[in-house]
Amino acid sequence: MNQQQNLWEFVVLQWDKLLSQTITHIGLTFASLLLAVLVGVPLGILISNKKKLANSVLGVAGVLQTIPSVALLGFMIPVFGIGTVPAVAVLFLYALLPIIRNTHTGITGVNESIRDAALGMGMTGRQILFQVEIPLAMPVMLAGIRTATVVNVGVATLAAYIAGGGLGEFIFGGIALNNTNMILAGAIPAALLAIFFDFLLSKIQLLTPDRLRKATLIFPTSLLILSSFYILPASEKSLLAGFEPEFMGRTDGYLGLKSKYGLKIPSVVISDAVMYKAAFEKELDVIGGYSTDGRLKAYNLTVLKDDKTIFPPYYAAPLVRNEVLQKHPELEQTLNLLAGVIDDSSMTDLNYRADILKQTPEEVASAFLKSKGLWRTPQDATGATIRIGCKIFGEQYILTEIYKMLIQGYTSLKVETKTGLGGTKICFDALTNNQIDLYPEYTGTGLLVILQPSPQEVDALISSREKVFEYVKMQFQKQYKLTWLKPIGFNNTYALMMRSAHARNLHIETISDLKNHIDTNE
C-alpha cells in the first residue's frame, strides 16, 4: 500500500517528465515503424515472386533480429552518433523482419486459384497486386505490423542509453538508483503502451473486408501523426546536456543542479559509456561525469568550478564486510598498502591508460604496482577465497585488479573478481547479502545514495571530506557492519564538464556562469 502511494507521489511529482517521455516513446516507436512499413512492405511484395531473393532478404533481416539490441545501438553510434537518429535506426531494423516476412507470407499465401481467376478476368499485374493480393494479405501484414509495434515499444526503452529519450530514462535511472518507483513509473506506461497498441491493432485485424479497406486508409495517416510525436529534446541554439541515469536522480547530481543553482538546461539521458565521446563530438555541450575519468584528458574537456559545492569531494576506499576482516586479519593490512598511494592525477592517468590507450586493467594495475615498488609475484594460494566486486566503469576495474594483485602477492588467500555490477545499489546489495566481500566505494556515494541523511545533516557535513568520511565510516559500522578502510588518496566526485574551447568562447568557468549564460540566452 505504502509502495503504491509512493509511486503515485512520484508520478505526480514527475508528471511533466513522464508525459514528455511517453510522447517521445510513442514517437520513437511509430517513426521507426513508419519507416519499416515504407521499406518492409514494398520489399516484401518485391520478393514475393522471387524465391532466391526472398531467401536472402529474409535471411539478412533475420540475422539483424538476432543481434542483441544493446549491441545494435552500439554499432549505430559510430555511424549516426547519439540521440534520435541511431535510436530510430535500431528500432527500424528490428521492425523490419516481421513486416517483410508477413508481407511475403501474406502475398504468397493468396490462393493460386484466386490469382488465376484475377488473371483470367483480365487484370494486369498491378491490378492483381492492389485489388486482390494486398487486400487478401492485409490481415497477415497487419499481424506483422502488430508484432513489430509491440517489439518496438519494448526496444524503444533502450533508446535512453544513447540520449534517444523515452520511458527508458525512468527505467534505467530507477535501476541505477534502485528506485522502484522510478522503474515502475517508466515500466508501467511502457507495458500499457504495448498492450494498448496490441489491442488496437488486433481490432483492425478482425475488421470485415469493406471496413478494412477504410481502415487501410486511416492506418498510414494515424501512423504519420503518431510518429510526429517525436519532438527533438534539443533546439539548435541552446546548449544540450547529457547525464547518465544515476546522475539524473542524485542530490549531488541533476537534482542539486536544479535546486541549488536553478540550472534549467535541456538534457538527455545517456549511458556513461558514450557520454564523453558525444561531448567531444559536439553532440552534447555539457555532461555530468567523474572528475578522475581518463576521457576528460583524452577529449580535452574542462571541469566547471562547483562554486556552490553541490558535488562534495569523495574519498575512494575499500568497503569490506567486518566478518571477512575478522577471519583474515592479514587482509586489512594488505588492502591498506594502497592507502594514500594514488592521488588525483595518477588516478586520472590510470583511467586514461585504460579508456583511451586501451590497455587492459591487468596491464594498468601491474605496471602501476611495479612503478610504486609494491608488486610481488603471486603466492601459492591455499587459503579461503576473497570475492572482490566492482561497478561497471573503468576506474573500478583497475582498482579491483590492483587489490587482486596485492592480495595474491602478500597473502595466501585466493581471489575471485565479480566485475561489472551495475550501479551503486547493486554492488552494495551484493556486499550486504554476502555475495562479495569487498568493493571500492566513494564516501559521497555512501552518504547520498545509501545513508540518505536529512538535508540539514548533509549541509553540515558536505564541506569537509574528512567529516563525510568519519560520518560514513561510523554509520556503516553501526547500520550494516561494514568497514571503510583507509582512503586510497584520490577524490572522485561528480563534475560538470564542457569542451575546453567551447567553455572558453562562452566565458564559462563556473556552474553559475553556465546558468547565467543559459538564462540570458533564453
Binding site: I114, A117, A118, L119, G120, M121, V132, P135, L136, P209
Partner: protein, 320 residues
C-alpha cells in the same frame, strides 16, 4: 470463330499438348473431354493466354490472339473456374462487376447488369447483392462465378470444369439451369470436363483428348457409333447404354419405330422427335404410362409407341 492450329505446349521438355487443331464456329459449343493429365485444361488456357503455347496459333475472328495484349483478350472472354475462383474480399455484386469495372463501365450500367444476371441465375438480389462469397452455398457460388463470366457480355465463354467442385445432385441441377439459359445459347463456349455424361449433355461437338493429342472430334452420336479407334470405344464403354439413350434422338430412330395404336393417339403424353431416347423413357416412367405419342415436325406424323418399341429401335440403330 475460334481456330486453333497445331497448338503445342512443353513444360520443361515434357510434352503436355501436341499439335492440337480444331475450329469452333459462332454459337457452337466445343467440349474438351478426357481423363486428367490429357492436356484439355492446358489447351483451354492457351486460348485466353493464361498459358503461352510453345508453338502453334489461335485465331479469334481471323486475328491471331498473340498480337493482342493478354489482358484485353481475357476481358473479351468469359472465364469460369472449377473452384469458382471468386474474390473472397469482394461482395457478390463486386465480384460480378469485376470485368465491367476493368472495361470502365459506369456504375449504373454495371449495377443494372448485375441485377439482371442475379435474376437470370435465380439468385435473390436483395439478399445476396452485398453478401460475401463465403456466405453462399457451393451452388450459389458457382452461379455467381458464371454471372461474373457473363457480366460484360463476352461472345466467348471458357469453362474449366465448371461443375467439378459440386456434389452430384447440385451438379445436375445447376447444369440443367445453365443449359436452359438464353444467354448461353448465343455464346461460343469451350468447356473442359472429364465427365462423359456432362459432355454428352452439351450435345454439340466433343473433342476427346488423350496424352496431349486429339483422338476424335465429333458429335456424341459420331463418337458412339463411329468411334475412330478402340480407345474411344473403351472410354465410352462402361456408360454406353446411358450415353446412347442420351445421344440418340427420336428422329434418328423414327423410321424403325412401329406404330402400335393408330386410333388412340390421345392415350398417354406427347413428345417431339427432337428429344432423346432418354427423355422419352423418362417421360414414360414419370407418367407411369404404357405408351407415348411421338410427333415428327418434318413429316407432320404421329406414332404411338411403348418403351419396348423404343428400345427395339435403339438396338436396330446400333446395329446399322
Amino acid at each position: 470463330m475460334i481456330v486453333a492450329q497445331n497448338l503445342t505446349k512443353y513444360f520443361n521438355k515434357a510434352i503436355a499438348v501436341k499439335e492440337v487443331s480444331f475450329s469452333v464456329t459462332e454459337g457452337e459449343n466445343l467440349v474438351l473431354l478426357g481423363t486428367s493429365g490429357c492436356g484439355k485444361t492446358t489447351t483451354l488456357r492457351m486460348i485466353n493466354r493464361l498459358i503461352e503455347p510453345s508453338s502453334g496459333q489461335v485465331y479469334v475472328n481471323g486475328k491471331s490472339i498473340l498480337n493482342e495484349s493478354p489482358e484485353i483478350l481475357r476481358r473479351s472472354m468469359g472465364y469460369v473456374l472449377q473452384n469458382n475462383g471468386l474474390f473472397p474480399h469482394f461482395t457478390v455484386a463486386e465480384n460480378i462487376g469485376v470485368v465491367p469495372q476493368l472495361l470502365g463501365w459506369d456504375k449504373k450500367q454495371t449495377q443494372k447488369r448485375t441485377l439482371e444476371l442475379l435474376d437470370k441465375l435465380q439468385l435473390d438480389a436483395e439478399k445476396h447483392f452485398n453478401s460475401y462469397p463465403h456466405q453462399l452455398s457451393g451452388g450459389q457460388q458457382q452461379r455467381v462465378g458464371l454471372a461474373r463470366a457473363l457480366a460484360a457480355n463476352p461472345p466467348i465463354l471458357l469453362m474449366d470444369e465448371p461443375f467439378g467442385a459440386l456434389d452430384p445432385i447440385t451438379r445436375v441441377k445447376i447444369r440443367q439451369e445453365f443449359l436452359n439459359l438464353d444467354e448461353l445459347k448465343r455464346k461460343t463456349i469451350i468447356l473442359v470436363t472429364h465427365d462423359v455424361e456432362e459432355a454428352f449433355e452439351f450435345d454439340d461437338k466433343i473433342c476427346l483428348m488423350d496424352k496431349g493429342s486429339i483422338v476424335q472430334i465429333g458429335t456424341p452420336t459420331e463418337l458412339l457409333f463411329k468411334p475412330a479407334n478402340d480407345f474411344i470405344r473403351n472410354f465410352l464403354s462402361h456408360q454406353r447404354l446411358l450415353l446412347e439413350m442420351k445421344a440418340v434422338k427420336l428422329s434418328h430412330i423414327w423410321n424403325t419405330l412401329e406404330n402400335i395404336d393408330i386410333q388412340s393417339f390421345n392415350n398417354g403424353p406427347v413428345i417431339n422427335t427432337d428429344q432423346s431416347v432418354w427423355k422419352v423413357l423418362e417421360l414414360i416412367g414419370l407418367n407411369k404410362a404404357t405408351q407415348v405419342t411421338i410427333y415428327d415436325e418434318k413429316t407432320k406424323q404421329k406414332k404411338a409407341v411403348s418403351s419396348s418399341n423404343i428400345l427395339n429401335s435403339l438396338s436396330q440403330h446400333r446395329a446399322t
